[in-house]
């Protein structure tokens, strides 16, 4: 499915409708936002920005490296959107228009919201601590009651609005989880913040010695650091794989009544419309073609070689036209088409995966009820058993809630995940969600797609063909976009194209050279008897009056695939090959890379069934795949990885994306994931130990605000340091 024509597909598809995404303002300036892939460093950034500014009329070009979003502004009339996109692609970065309604705006808003909360909490923490330290050092008796109460009130004036403002991320999430009938980690956090405020107000009113205003702002401050780290991680992840949206923004050229083809967005197509499909374009809706051509049906069937489609036969959405341009009569709307069906399969898979409970939430499930019932118990014992009075019993119970607040838990997991994903990024793996690492750590079964995943995904000329025949055949091959022809042209290197080359859809290319007819194409068309029975594909080249010459092609196995299989076996992971391709091809590839089990001729839905079955048997399965037909399976798997050359939809579904062509980083990712899980568990253990010591002190009423604050800060520091140990273990 990874055909040679992919880059060209994208370009052609986008050139026609990029104008639809341009925003114009009255002063004659046009702006467009592009999603740019593959820019990771200062060098890429300056190449893109300066390359664009060199275009006449472009006034501004700015790339956001965190989100991969490129904003370009130009003066109307000098350049157009298509030129801008072509320029970025010439510089070596795939680019496409960004749908302005897409998620990115919300993402920026979320980042700013978190930062504002963090800023307010930081400001309040610093100022309240200033006052608190004076109070603590004055507790010996140097500070009078009046001054202390004044300080408490000033602290309160800062802390109450600040904690209510900065606590909003926690309050929202706690409310949401409570309304769903569950209690997540944010419930005790919210409770602790609110109770600390309430108790402190009560204490200040009664001229008490202790107030917890400092704790009420320090708590959200420390936790927000964790939240923000977590957010940055997710944003990076989403930025690298937001292309499912882009894929849905596909356009088509509709032929209107005057016979003119105009670009329309795919969602506007209605049944009966006639669409002009150029070579290399992806069919947007299910339909019937008005003429014969050749198409890559890999999305539908998984078969990697293009097939002939006769006049008046149906094509499913997602097929790519590889033969000559045709007119397609739409038979359904986008939302009823095959791709939409795939999208629904994907969604179902995601829901399945969302049932996975993160380690931190599992800890919270135990932690929340234990802490709450302990606090209640402390209150009852002091109030009923020891007749300590309402105020002081309540104070001890709240004190316990504050001191046991899951700072360490809130920070432990994001800290480890940030370090681990940073580590993997440097090794060429992009981790898209933090919990993907947790899931990867538990994997015991790995499924691999064949084409483009274990193999290079494109045919390569094999054997040693006669150089003269190769050169002559290449003159014809250069005129065609067929994958085999391209492979042949690539093998021959650069050269001229036969002047009058004519492509016959589904058959081959012909031309007249030096008065003689030369042909390159299918065996029966060229007039040769193919003796090949084995898997693979071939092209025949014939010269009038000479015997035809055969060129053989093979989709080669990636060089480190066998190493990866061995590495996975050493780690106790069973491997299996799942492919839509034929049995014979599957067997050959499986033997070559060293996989014992394989299943061939699977439709996309059947791959999902295989994964469901594995899940039913209690396996935690890793899926590695690159095709659009793998997307549902990638979404269904316990955890999924896609190679860097994968189609956008597959990358969007996968939890991790390999940035290079090699496969071995998968084994490295597994090691890091397992180490990261160990660190997280250590952090949990540490948090448990800390609580085991702190709770009795709090219950006995021995904890002063100073001890609570120091304990809280140092436990956060310790879990962060423990997370950094991951980095220390790096070879």
């Amino acid at each position: 499915m990874a055909s040679l024509t992919r880059a060209d597909d994208a370009r052609e598809r986008w050139e026609c409708d990029a104008e639809a995404f341009v925003r114009r303002d009255p002063s004659g300036m046009s702006r467009i936002e592009l999603a740019v892939r593959g820019a990771h460093c200062a060098n890429c950034m300056s190449r893109i920005e300066q390359g664009l500014r060199a275009l006449e009329g472009v006034t501004e070009a700015r790339l956001n490296l965190s989100t991969g979003k490129l904003a370009v502004q130009w003066r109307e009339g000098r350049v157009d959107a298509a030129t801008v996109i072509r320029r970025v692609e010439e510089l070596g970065f795939p680019a496409r228009p960004y749908d302005p309604r897409a998620l990115i705006e919300n993402e920026d808003a979320e980042a700013r919201f978190l930062l504002r909360c963090l800023g307010v909490a930081g400001f309040a923490s610093a100022n309240v601590m200033l006052l608190s330290i004076s109070i603590w050092s004055g507790l010996g008796g140097e500070m009078g009651d009046g001054t202390r109460t004044l300080f408490h009130w000033i602290s309160g004036l800062i802390a109450i609005p600040a904690a209510l403002y900065a606590g909003r991320p926690f309050f929202r999430s706690a409310l949401k989880s409570l309304s769903a009938g569950r209690a997540n980690m944010d419930v005790p956090i919210s409770l602790a913040i609110l109770l600390a405020l309430a108790l402190s107000v009560f204490s200040a009113l009664n001229h008490g010695q202790r107030a917890y205003f400092d704790a009420a702002v320090m708590l959200p401050f420390l936790l927000l650091i964790g939240r923000y780290l977590d957010f940055l991680l997710r944003r990076k992840a989403r930025a690298s794989a937001r292309d499912l949206i882009a894929m849905q923004a596909v356009s088509a050229r509709r032929i209107d009544q005057a016979g003119i083809a105009r670009p329309v967005s795919a969602s506007e197509i209605s049944p009966g419309d006639r669409l002009l499909m150029a070579t290399g374009e992806r069919v947007p809706v299910d339909g019937v073609i008005e003429d014969g051509t050749e198409a890559d049906l890999s999305l539908v069937t998984g078969e990697s070689a293009p097939v002939c489609v006769a006049r008046d036969s149906g094509l499913r959405a997602g097929s790519i036209i590889t033969g000559r341009p045709v007119v397609l009569r739409a038979a359904s709307r986008v939302e009823d088409s095959f791709v939409a069906e795939l999208a629904r399969l994907v969604e179902a898979g995601q829901q399945q995966r969302n049932r996975y409970v993160k380690l931190a939430d599992r800890a919270a499930r135990i932690y929340v009820p234990v802490v709450h019932s302990l606090a209640a118990l402390v209150f009852i014992v002091w109030f009923v058993g020891l007749h300590a009075g309402l105020a002081s019993s309540l104070e001890r119970a709240i004190c316990l809630l504050i001191i046991t607040c899951p700072c360490a838990l809130g920070l432990a997991v994001p800290a480890v995940q940030v370090v681990a994903t940073g580590l993997l990024f440097r090794r060429g793996i992009l981790v898209k969600s933090g919990d993907a690492l947790e899931r990867l750590a538990g994997v015991d079964l790995a499924f691999f797609d064949k084409t483009g995943t274990l193999t290079e995904g494109r045919p390569v000329l094999v054997g040693e063909p006669d150089p003269r025949a190769l050169n002559e055949a290449a003159r014809l091959a250069r005129a065609s976009r067929h994958p085999l022809a391209r492979a042949l042209a690539a093998a021959a290197g650069t050269g001229v194209v036969a002047g009058d080359a004519r492509e016959i859809a589904g058959q081959g290319v012909e031309a007249i050279e030096n008065g003689k007819r030369v042909v390159l194409g299918r065996a029966d068309w060229v007039g040769a008897m193919s003796e090949r029975k084995s898997a693979g594909s071939e092209l025949w080249f014939g010269r009038e009056g000479e015997a035809p010459v055969c060129f053989e092609f093979e989709d080669r196995v990636k060089h480190d695939a066998p190493d990866l299989m061995a590495a996975l076996a050493r780690r106790g992971v069973t491997t299996e090959l799942l492919t839509g391709d034929r049995e014979a091809v599957a067997r050959r590839v499986a033997q070559e890379v060293g996989i014992a089990a394989w299943q061939a001729e699977l439709a996309p839905g059947e791959k999902v069934t295989v994964l469901e079955h594995a899940r039913g048997e209690g396996h935690r399965a890793l899926m590695v795949g690159d095709g659009l037909n793998d997307a549902p399976a990638l979404a269904q798997a316990h955890v999924s990885i896609s190679p860097g050359a994968a189609v956008d939809a597959a990358q969007a579904q996968a939890d991790m994306v390999l940035m290079g062509e090699t496969l071995l980083p998968i084994a490295a990712a597994m090691d890091v994931a397992r180490q990261a899980r160990r660190r997280v568990l250590e952090n949990f253990g540490f948090a448990a130990a800390y609580n085991a010591i702190a709770i009795p002190f709090a219950a006995l009423g021995l904890v002063t605000p100073l001890i609570a604050a120091v304990a809280m800060a140092s436990s956060s520091l310790l879990v962060t340091l423990n997370a950094l140990r991951l980095k220390a273990g790096e070879p």
Binding site: A42, M45, N64, L65, S66, R112, L115, N127, L131, T147
Partner: protein
């Protein structure tokens, strides 16, 4: 002692609020929208320099 406090506490708060206001301003102007790019941008050659 009270006059000193009456100056110092408001002064501390005002300074803090000033910092906070500056922080909010920078958030509003997109200074934190691209943390990776900012780190790399410093390495770029100035095109008109």
């Amino acid at each position: 002692m009270i006059p000193a406090l009456a100056i110092l506490i408001p002064a501390a708060l005002l300074l803090g609020l000033g910092g906070l206001a500056a922080f909010f301003w920078s958030i509003g102007h997109g200074q934190f929208d691209d943390l990776d790019g900012a780190a790399q941008r410093i390495l770029m050659d100035d095109e008109d320099g």
